[in-house]
């Protein structure tokens, strides 16, 4: 069932960025050494089940904690545990298990109890398989209570991994089977596929294949950033106002990506643990823009270094140009969260009379450059600030692009003057989804998002908590 959805106010369409990943992938091969983080971006680790010197096989669970919602961690190669040490991993103190591979066989030991005909399995067994495979963390809400499953493939970033590739060929059918499996263990749920409406072929195929499934809904979105942010996506799909601070789990919403749905299918029908991930290598910094299928835990050094045009004056960014972190340490491993790795020029060169040039390749929210009026021209992309910081002139660009209708320049004015009180709360500072568009469009180059974040921190430090 296809559902047309009205877009949100504000936002920005990032079009024609150079170096989109082509819809083909290469296998990265079995690495000599992997590093598996025992943390999936939360405050707690899963407990390690192995110790230094243990022999492990590919697919073996090496960290597991049934007390919390995290899915277990797997070894992705056959090998020997070299070391377990704590490192600062994206600002989380995380235990990392280093495993030295002893052979390069691509085989992965399947989980016990899978069945090709998954209809035969009972719900408990399916849930257990999904949990043990680490395909998707479904434990935040008990499956019976899930009202909505949202498969997030909005493709609204400047760089996206190719949905054509992920759902190519048989994968499309597997994907729909995966959705059926989810529906079986979540009997109350409706499944919504939030997809970029430019994927016309995939949409029509899925709509045809799911014609009989009245619980499956395809929501076609304009690829406008930040359509993928939960606070923007949820109200659009559920067609109701959602309090901004409510988390998905409380609303009975389970959020997945297409790759995770495929992994669910693979776990239940083939017993495959989730140890391989497809990442897109995007941006002009790579020699070739394609997708890479690699074992989770492969250090970035091994898979990325040779594919970069040069390693100096390049910035590697994870997932999103606007809200993603920079990948500064290439010894970090490939993680389940990675879907795009973007390499752009760390542009420190100065440009002669930059402000007076026509700008045929310059992307801008305003139409002040030629690129705005010439469709189809590849934009240039680099990390240069393109101007000096100046006082705010209240041009209102930040308020216009804000997807959650707050006024960033007003909040920034308060935060800079250290006026930290209820007024900031009443101006809905905690609604911010940290998409970074305000900082992007600001002609005065004010770091608005940074100021908003620091305002939030100061409010919390002073004892004003987020309004309920």
């Amino acid at each position: 069932m296809l559902k047309k959805i009205r877009t949100f106010k504000g936002g920005f369409k990032f079009q024609n960025y150079p170096g989109q990943a082509k819809p083909l992938f290469v296998l990265a091969g079995i690495p000599l050494r992997v590093v598996i983080p025992l943390n999936r971006c939360s405050d707690v680790d899963v407990k390690p089940l192995v110790k230094k010197g243990d022999t492990v096989f590919a697919g073996q669970i090496i960290g597991r904690d049934d007390a919390n919602i995290l899915s277990p961690a797997h070894s992705s190669v056959n090998g020997i545990v070299e070391d377990i040490q704590r490192v600062n991993y994206f600002n989380c103190d995380t235990a990392m298990v280093a495993i030295r591979a002893t052979d390069s066989s691509p085989e992965i030991k399947p989980l016990a109890g899978y069945a090709g005909d998954w209809q035969k399995l009972n719900n408990e067994k399916i849930e257990e398989l999904i949990f043990l495979s680490g395909a998707a963390s479904l434990r935040a809400v008990s499956p019976e209570k899930v009202m909505h499953v949202i498969i997030q493939e909005t493709g609204a970033e400047a760089y996206n991994s190719s949905l054509d590739l992920i759902l190519e060929g048989k994968n499309l059918l597997n994907f729909i089977e995966g959705a059926k499996i989810l529906k079986k263990i979540m009997p109350q749920a409706r499944v919504h596929l939030a997809v970029n409406r430019q994927h016309k072929k995939i949409i029509s195929q899925i709509v045809n294949l799911t014609a009989q499934m009245d619980w499956f809904e395809v929501c076609a979105f304009k690829p406008k950033y930040p359509q993928g942010a939960l606070a923007v996506l949820l109200p659009a799909i559920l067609n109701q106002k959602i309090p901004y601070d409510s988390c998905a789990a409380n609303l009975g919403v389970s959020l997945l990506q297409a790759q995770e749905v495929l992994a669910v299918y693979a776990a239940v029908t083939r017993g495959e643990p989730f140890v391989e991930k497809i990442v897109a290598l995007c941006g002009p910094g790579f020699k070739e823009n394609l997708h890479l299928k690699a074992r989770i835990g492969t250090p970035l050094n091994e898979i990325i270094k040779d594919r970069l045009k040069s390693t100096d004056s390049v910035r590697l960014i994870l997932n999103s140009l606007l809200s993603g972190p920079a990948l500064e340490d290439l010894s970090f491993p490939l993680d389940k969260r990675f879907s795009q790795i973007i390499a752009i020029d760390d542009h420190r060169q100065r440009e002669f009379l930059a402000f007076a040039r026509p700008g045929l390749r310059r992307d801008s929210y305003s139409g002040a450059f030629g690129a705005h009026w010439l469709p189809g021209i590849k934009k240039s992309v680099d990390t240069n600030q393109h101007g000096q910081e100046r006082p705010c002139i209240s041009c209102g660009f930040c308020a216009d692009v804000c997807p959650v209708r707050i006024i960033p320049h007003l909040l920034t004015r308060y935060v800079r003057r250290e006026i930290i009180n209820e007024i900031l709360l009443s101006y809905e500072i905690f609604n911010c989804v940290e998409c970074g568009l305000c900082s992007f469009v600001c002609p005065s180059k004010i770091p608005l998002l940074k100021q908003i974040k620091s305002g939030q921190e100061k409010l919390i430090a002073e004892g004003f908590c987020a309004k309920k």
Partner: protein
């Protein structure tokens, strides 16, 4: 380019040696930045829009170029001298304050420097241009803390200061425009004898004569330097709206309300306001609505506030034109609404965030 870079480096070295000259560093920094851009990079978000304040202000100036060329055609090459004086003295004030404050030179005066001469009568003495622009930038902007913090539009402050301090020169000194052939492009200034003309609004108010609208659209009548070539102003204004430098709400509300107010007043109260088309095409309404009322710093930043300001501006302009002793009302109404801008914004914010 290399040559310019070498010169800049030499200047930096020269300035660095001398304690007093060192204070001029903001000037050099500004020149350096304008010429070569920045080498700073973003933290997070990793990319930034290519638009900066320089480009922002540059586009406003670019949108005024048709009006400036037409002004030279109508009033002679002296217009260029007026603009030069305005830029030089306005820039000087800006530089002085940057040096005293030890801050960067801001780009705001690029726009002030071009708009201010455009709203002066063509016969204005050059010394008066200098006095006006210095007063405007000083008391309209710098005393409030510089660009971004000012309450009033500096160009309008300067202009109103001049019309109050030197009423005779400012109100009587209207020249007749050149027409035909090369026009003012070949002359410095119209002869003093030709100073026998009245603006369309004055003609209407004093003698009841209505100037033909086509005439006003193309600008062959008396008026301030930059306000008469109205077709160019409309084109420039629409261009700015199209590239989002100017928000469309204020000009739209302003340009609808002023004629509407005149229409209502004429049909219900038997007054003698100028007709709607005359309201729209006379005086500085188009220049004011597109380029001055929309100054982002001094106009409301909330969207409802923009509508309110536009409607108030329109009614005030028609009111002042029709009922006050002044012939023209655009400048006064913009100045008055500038005062109310913070109030309008705070009321809108209160209403919007009240329920939550």
């Amino acid at each position: 380019m290399k040559m310019i870079k070498a010169i800049m480096e030499k200047m930096y070295r020269l300035i660095g040696k001398n304690r007093y000259l060192n204070k001029l560093k903001p000037v050099l920094n500004a020149a350096d930045e304008a010429l070569f851009g920045t080498d700073k990079v973003n933290a997070s978000p990793h990319i930034a829009d290519y638009l900066d304040v320089k480009r922002f202000m540059f586009m406003v100036v670019a949108a005024l170029i048709p009006a400036v060329i037409a002004a030279v055609y109508f009033w002679g090459l002296r217009v260029l001298a007026v603009i030069a004086v305005s830029y030089i003295f306005g820039g000087l004030v800006e530089v002085c304050f940057a040096i005293v404050r030890k801050k960067e030179i801001h780009e705001g005066f690029l726009v002030t420097g071009i708009i201010f001469p455009l709203i002066l009568p063509p016969g204005v003495p050059l010394w008066m241009v200098a006095v006006g622009v210095v007063f405007g930038v000083l008391f309209g902007k710098e005393v409030f803390g510089g660009t971004g913090k000012n309450i009033f539009n500096p160009a309008i402050v300067g202009r109103i200061f001049l019309s109050i301090a030197f009423p005779k020169i400012m109100a009587v000194n209207w020249q007749a425009p050149f027409s035909g052939g090369w026009g003012g492009l070949a002359h410095y200034q119209n002869t003093i004898d030709a100073v026998v003309s009245a603006t369309p609004l004055a003609l209407f108010k004093n003698q009841g004569i209505v100037t033909p609208w086509l005439n006003m659209l193309f600008g062959a009548n008396a008026g301030c330097i930059g306000e008469t070539f109205r077709i160019g102003l409309i084109a420039g204004g629409l261009f700015l709206i199209l590239i989002r430098i100017v928000d469309w709400r204020i000009p739209l509300a302003y340009l609808i309300t002023a004629p509407l107010f005149a229409f209502i007043a004429n049909s219900f109260f038997h007054t003698h306001l100028a007709s709607p088309s005359l309201q729209l095409l006379s005086g500085g309404l188009l220049l004011g609505a597109f380029f001055m009322a929309t100054d982002p710093v001094t106009s409301p930043f909330t969207k409802p506030g923009k509508w309110v300001a536009g409607v108030l501006l329109g009614s005030l302009t028609a009111l002042i034109r029709g009922f006050s002793g002044y012939v023209e009302g655009v400048m006064f109404s913009i100045l008055i609404i500038n005062v109310f801008t913070p109030l309008i914004d705070s009321v809108v914010l209160k209403l919007r965030y009240k329920t939550k």
